[in-house]
């Protein structure tokens, strides 16, 4: 697939006059029956950002996106686009572009007609002529690198192609905000990887304020400039990917973003952690979250005092994930994970069942 290539060949500014807009949500509450999907959510998204709404299924992320789009009624609260209140405006007047998880292409229309749809339904006064429409549609199809498919029907395309057509269709009306609902959710892994990068490049070129929903933390970290973590209808944390990863606001975010080892501190565990080189005081918190790559391992010389036993390991490409059994003082043996580069692991020359010493570099503490 050609998705990884830079987008060149056309001057987008001649074709698209996208004016990027900021989004402000204040106190959005949405209930479905007795279920509270969103609970007093307030969020500000500056113009030009590429934001990921991240969370487990049922956390309200899709509902929030649909409320911004106007596809769902706001229960309580206001939606502001460029400081203008659009809460009561119909979806067809909001000027947003929406990309659906399952593409929602018009099955009875060719690719060309799909992309042209938004232009053809404009009121007669503002509707471009057919030649202008054709010119713009072909430019958009070239932007998504699929102009050669213009006379096909959606059923004849692959998933990745369909999603790019859906994106071109949404961009045709020059939306001030682009909303994508799990845009890569229905695609297979390799296509998904290509499209992520492609989306980031496209955003870089068009610079339209974009929000996408995902439950895949890797995807959110890789694509977005800002990540909003949601859980149970509330915002847990908002920040850049590195802020979220390095400074998780709470235990939920820490567990949800990346792998982590969780220690509930009792007497033995704190002793065990201290013997593994982690320096802390009791008031830092009751729960320690330790990332696998913050654990260093070394073959133990003194077998009796060793912190853990090597159980098994898995190759994750450049990294090795090492499964360790903690040698608990009270006889309990919890599993923990460490990660290190391939060659470093080879140099240690470890075998299954070896006793190892640990050095824990840092932990995140939560109460």
């Amino acid at each position: 697939m050609e998705a990884g290539q830079p987008l060149t060949g056309i001057d987008n500014h001649l074709i698209f006059e996208i004016s990027s807009m900021s989004i402000l949500l204040s106190n959005i509450t949405k209930k479905f029956g007795t279920f509270t999907a969103l609970d007093h959510v307030s969020l500000e998204i500056p113009e030009g950002e590429l934001v990921a709404l991240l969370g487990p299924s049922g956390c309200g992320k899709t509902t929030l996106l649909r409320i911004i789009a106007g596809l769902e009624h706001t229960g309580e609260g206001r939606v502001l686009l460029n400081r203008k209140d659009i809460t009561d405006q119909d979806v067809s007047h909001r000027g947003i572009g929406f990309v659906f998880q399952h593409y929602a292409l018009f099955r009875h229309m060719t690719v060309f007609d799909n992309v042209a749809f938004g232009l053809r339904v404009k009121p007669r006064r503002s509707r471009p002529t057919e030649t202008e429409i054709a010119k713009k549609v072909h430019a958009l199809l070239e932007l998504v690198q699929l102009d050669w498919l213009h006379d096909r029907f959606p059923d004849q395309l692959s998933g990745g192609q369909r999603q790019r057509i859906a994106l071109a269709r949404a961009l045709a009306v020059e939306p001030s905000v682009l909303l994508l609902d799990e845009p890569f959710g229905a695609l297979d892994a390799s296509v998904r990887k290509d499209l992520r990068q492609w989306l980031r490049n496209l955003h870089h070129e068009l610079n339209v304020t974009s929000i996408f929903v995902t439950h895949d933390q890797e995807e959110a970290m890789e694509v977005a400039s800002q990540v909003v973590v949601l859980n149970h209808g509330r915002i847990e944390q908002q920040g850049s990917p590195s802020e979220i990863y390095d400074h998780p606001a709470n235990a939920f975010v820490s567990r949800f973003i990346g792998q982590t080892n969780v220690f509930e501190l009792d007497e033995h565990d704190s002793e065990w952690l201290q013997s593994s080189g982690l320096i802390f005081t009791a008031r830092e918190g009751k729960v320690a979250h330790i990332r696998p790559h913050d654990i260093e391992i070394e073959k133990s010389i003194d077998n009796s005092g060793a912190a853990a036993t090597l159980k098994d390991w898995q190759h994750l490409g450049a990294l090795i994930r090492i499964e360790l059994i903690k040698n608990g003082f009270n006889g309990s043996d919890a599993t923990l994970y460490a990660e290190m580069p391939n060659d470093q692991f080879k140099r240690l020359q470890l075998n299954k069942g070896d006793k190892v010493d640990l050095r824990i570099r840092q932990a995140h503490w939560f109460h």
Binding site: A69, L71, D90, V91, S92, H93, R94, G95, I96, G97, F98, F100, H102, A104, L105, F106, R107, H108, M109, T110, F117, G118, V121, K122, F153, P154, D155, Q156, A166, R169, A170, A172, V173
Partner: protein, 275 residues
């Protein structure tokens, strides 16, 4: 086809289908054709160009066409209501739709005739308020045919509406389309092929319908006499040749019309990427 198919049983099932179609459809129909060969071409022409015969053809096909058109519109609306909304009594409505399938057509005919005759409940009302007589007119035939053909339209359109992705409508709305544009440009083109099938079924049923029509039609020659009735009349008079000639003509016209509808449907499907 047969070799490349993974599914077993191509030969026996095809064989069964061929035998079934021969016994039940082809042999009886070809008998009709052979029977009519006993007539000379001139005799045949003489029978079917008879003024009374021609008028029955006109009545039969025009009423069937009108009824199928009206039933298509009504059936679509009913299917829409059944699929899109939930309301009290929906199950009852579901059952009511299929009632014309199950009801002996003569019963339906007698009931319709009773209420629409000039002294009947609805018939009187229509004459008094609009000066409109339904019974014993082609209009009465159309009424009866709508009654029996609506289920065909509802039951063919319904599954397509059920399958229809609501996200397609939402996509249309997000692109700025009005409710009306969403219906005419997105929903309607998607149900059109099924609607044409429903129309064809309704039309075919209407052309051949006998039991529910004859009571309300009054069967006045040149006004409200239908082809099937004329065939029965001829048979009762032991005019087998006459009946055969009319039946064959009707068979040919029906076949051509259904072929045309199918071609139209093929064209629609091709144009909308469903082939």
């Amino acid at each position: 086809m047969a070799q490349s198919s993974v599914m077993p049983g191509f030969r026996p099932t095809l064989g069964f289908a061929a035998i079934y179609l021969s016994l039940v459809v082809l042999i009886p129909l070809s008998t009709l054709v052979f029977e009519s060969f006993k007539l000379s071409w001139d005799d045949y022409l003489h029978i079917i160009t008879n003024r009374r015969v021609l008028s029955t053809f006109r009545v039969s096909f025009s009423t069937a066409l009108a009824a199928a058109s009206i039933a298509s519109v009504f059936g679509c609306i009913v299917a829409w209501v059944l699929v899109r909304y939930s309301f009290a009594g929906k199950r009852v409505l579901h059952a009511l739709i299929d009632l014309p399938f199950a009801l002996p057509t003569a019963v339906a005919g007698i009931v319709l005739a009773t209420i629409f005759q000039p002294s009947g409940f609805l018939g009187k009302l229509l004459i008094d308020t609009f000066n409109l007589q339904v019974a014993y007119k082609p209009l009465g035939i159309v009424m009866a045919l709508i009654f029996i053909s609506i289920p065909f339209v509802v039951r063919t359109v319904e599954p397509v509406l059920l399958e229809f992705e609501p996200a397609m409508e939402e996509a249309g709305a997000s692109l700025g389309a009005s409710r009306r544009q969403i219906f005419t440009k997105i929903i309607f083109p998607n149900i059109l092929p099924a609607l044409l099938t429903g129309f064809a079924l309704a039309f075919a049923r209407g052309v051949g319908e006998y039991g529910s029509v004859i009571f309300i039609a009054g069967n006045i020659p040149y006004v409200s006499e239908i082809v099937p009735l004329l065939i029965v009349t001829k048979l009762e008079q032991f005019d087998v040749e006459g009946a055969t000639a009319i039946a064959l003509t009707m068979l040919i016209i029906s076949f051509v019309l259904l072929l045309l509808i199918n071609l139209l449907q093929l064209w629609v499907r091709k144009r909308s990427g469903q082939l």
